[in-house]
């Protein structure tokens, strides 16, 4: 057993509101979360409004009929796959990723079937996270 004092990991909380394929914001948010996890920070993501659709489990990649590419050749990156990659990154880097999808936003959109790791919550969870985190980044929608 080491006598070295435990180093408290810092935590970043990110609030995201944009859904898939609408703006650059989810891509930029994913890049920021990825960088934070690689650096060993714990990250909380509060998916609000249409951002709950980023992690719908039934998203499927599609072929590209214009370029006559198959699903495999097109290798279309769905947002749920990108979120899954972030969970993989958290495990590889020994960092914690906690992802909440706003429950009311899920209900409104019927986005009930979420990928593993995403849990249901509400704005109160975001408030708690903001109070407990070392930094909070709110990426507002347009």
């Amino acid at each position: 057993m080491s006598d070295a004092p435990a180093i408290r990991k810092k935590t970043l909380t990110v609030a995201l509101m944009d859904g898939p394929y609408v703006s650059n914001n989810p891509t930029t948010a994913f890049r920021i979360v990825d960088a934070a996890l690689r650096k060993g920070y714990n990250v909380n993501v509060f998916a609000y409004e249409s951002a709950v659709e980023l992690s719908i489990a039934k998203q499927q990649p599609h072929q590209n009929p214009v370029k006559q590419r198959t699903v495999e050749e097109a290798d279309h990156p769905t947002t749920k796959r990108l979120v899954e990659n972030l969970f993989d990154s958290s495990r590889r880097n020994g960092a914690k990723l906690d992802w909440i999808a706003c429950g009311l936003c899920v209900d409104e959109r019927g986005s009930f079937d979420q990928i593993e790791g995403v849990r249901r919550g509400g704005p109160g969870d975001f408030l708690d996270w903001a109070r407990q985190s070392d930094q909070t980044l709110v990426i507002a929608t347009k």
Binding site: L12, N24, I32, D34, A35, Y41, L137
Partner: protein, 113 residues
Amino acid sequence: MANYLLISSRDPFEYRDAEWFYDLAAELSARHSVKLFLVGNGVLIGRNRIDNGPSKKFRRLVGLNGNVHVGADNFSLRERGIDTGELVPGITVTGVDTLVDTLMESTDKVLWH
């Protein structure tokens, strides 16, 4: 004095309120340390050849005697085919790794637009 990080993701040609963010950075810099990070379409204002109202305001910001440090995201620049040599002198090309370092280690207040 607080350390502000302003993240600008909007193109002022598409959103007129983007230039208000430059005003905010300039006003904050009178009393605080300010870093402005351009990302997504926010990097488009960094091109040296454009000349209009928002770009004049932006250039003044970059030239504020070092009171505002302006960085542009390398990934966003590459996506839009903008070479480093095309940028307004004074802009630092950087990335989200540096952004996260700044965010987590030396920022009191962060604002996204």
